[in-house]
Subunit: 143 residues, 2 copies
Amino acid sequence: MTNAPLGLSLVTLGVADLSRARAFYTAMGLAPSPQGNDNVVFFQMPGGVLGLYSRAALADDATVDAAGSGFAGITLACNLDSSADVDAMIARAATAGGRVVKPGQTVFWGGYSGYFADPDGHLWEVAHNPFFAKDDRGVLAIG
Amino acid sequence: MTNAPLGLSLVTLGVADLSRARAFYTAMGLAPSPQGNDNVVFFQMPGGVLGLYSRAALADDATVDAAGSGFAGITLACNLDSSADVDAMIARAATAGGRVVKPGQTVFWGGYSGYFADPDGHLWEVAHNPFFAKDDRGVLAIG
């Protein structure tokens, strides 16, 4: 047994329609892992795994009531190397069936950022932060 | 401009009380990054960054209504090397001010898993999955 810190290995998004969600994230350039099956989809990314699972089944797994609405209180962020990359990623999301929530724009902290929602409403910030670095595997490494 | 796939760089948790949330995650073994300030806390992890930010400010940043309740439809997962590690992490969360939502138990997919909620209700699954590997940096690598 170790005393390792809490670490984020995987983020699971609850979705209403697994096929629709898989198609969206595939169109965003991700390849479904062979570890998935008819009930769950996994995407390997440089820093961990993104999972898609039925929203009802996810609530059931956590033993919580599946009811919920409005702002989830959590956002995912994709950091890119330039403002042009941000605009391109948000445009790609719109084409793939997402919704542009906030077009890319210069923001108060000195970077460039926008938001899209995936088909289930999960919010992704797409940002270029000139003060943040990435390591040799593409993982955000701010120190 | 690149055509890189969508990647998850950072997860931001909206919180009601930044000091309380920072204390909780610090007690979970994470060290606040010097990149943070009085309004935002960042924790560097092997696969990216976990951020804490005012829930209202996070909604404002995304230009969405801050109102929301019930199941967020998203869970974070921490994969560990043994069932004993899972139990220890969930116990640590309870001591740190979290809430045990589902005690660690053997689950249908052949692993061992439980859930805790942080002080703002964000759900963390803590799991041992004997079928999933990690790379040399501790990043979940399922292929």
